[in-house]
Assembly symmetry: C2
């Protein structure tokens, strides 16, 4: 939602509403992937017409919400120190990113319905590349196993993180145990023999 260069400046109240809508969208989608735009507008304290004034369609809004979440996520991951023992770094990466995934996995479901898979891949490019780089380095340093492709390790990390979110929703896993549990599982699965 950065203003395009040389565009007429947006008014402050409009920008505030756009932010409120995006916040509400992220929160509403987190609860239910098939939320209606009416609900989002209401949650944002804004009329439905105003929402359509800023986002031309449902897909547009999903795209913008997704972009915002992934942008924030990438910022969090970017603040991590990626040098040092890959196993330790991975543990920190899991801890840092797990809550992010927990909060936005329903948004991903909505995105899968509304956006092309190419678009979703593009939106994920930043965070995915960070994880992939770390795992590949761990493999080349002999810390992580090399009998499985790096892409599979990325996928496994992804799956287990999402699985942890499901377990919390099912009441079988305490949120404060999640990062530790995932780490114990993933580190054992990835360790070189």
């Amino acid at each position: 939602m950065a203003p395009p260069p040389h565009a007429p400046a947006r008014r402050a109240d409009a920008q505030r509403n756009i932010d409120a809508i995006l916040d509400a969208a992220v929160e509403s989608f987190a609860r239910r992937p098939d939320t209606t735009l009416a609900e989002i507008a209401k949650a944002a304290g804004v009329g439905r017409v105003t929402l359509y004034g800023h986002f031309a369609s449902r897909a547009d809004l999903v795209d913008a919400a997704m972009a915002r979440v992934l942008e924030q996520g990438d910022a969090v991951l970017g603040s991590l120190e990626l040098d040092g023992d890959p196993a330790e770094v991975l543990e920190r990466l899991i801890t840092a990113s797990w809550r992010l995934i927990h909060q936005s996995r329903s948004l991903l479901v909505a995105a899968q319905k509304e956006l092309s898979s190419a678009r979703i891949r593009d939106l994920h490019a930043g965070p995915a590349a960070r994880a992939e780089r770390l795992l590949a380095r761990g493999q080349s340093e002999g810390v992580f196993r090399s009998d499985l492709p790096t892409s599979w390790l990325v996928a496994t990390l992804h799956s287990v993180l999402h699985g942890a979110a499901d377990e919390i929703n099912a009441g079988r896993l305490k949120p404060e145990d999640a990062a530790r549990t995932v780490s114990l599982t993933i580190l054992a699965a990835f360790a070189a023999r």
Copy 2:
């Protein structure tokens, strides 16, 4: 779809159509969790009205399709020899059940939208109990790690199997490699230190 006791016998053509509808439903949902009933009827070579004649609502059909798939799955799992080294048994269980999961994971998505989570849990009870028993035995025999709850191991197995299906869909994993890849990952993750 077993005829209730003392009900007037169902005619053979009706039973054939019911089977065709269920087959088509399983197959259609596998492609798209939000398939329409019209598509399913068409795929079954049957009129939409006929479908409604046998299944009162969309939820009814999803429930029946889900029950059929899980019943078949439970039968497959039931034919496995569950005694012996837990690690070897787990490997066989993964191989036996993975294609099943691959084929019906979109159906599960449909079920999550249409059925209560309690109902879904009940439908899964059979297969889930088999996996849980095996994992618990492995833990008590010291073959599998005991620093994580059995329910988490079940969840992890579930997540990774579904992740493999996603990887195949994304073209990054060859179907014939799936069972082996999942086994290598899971056995490392579950092994006692």
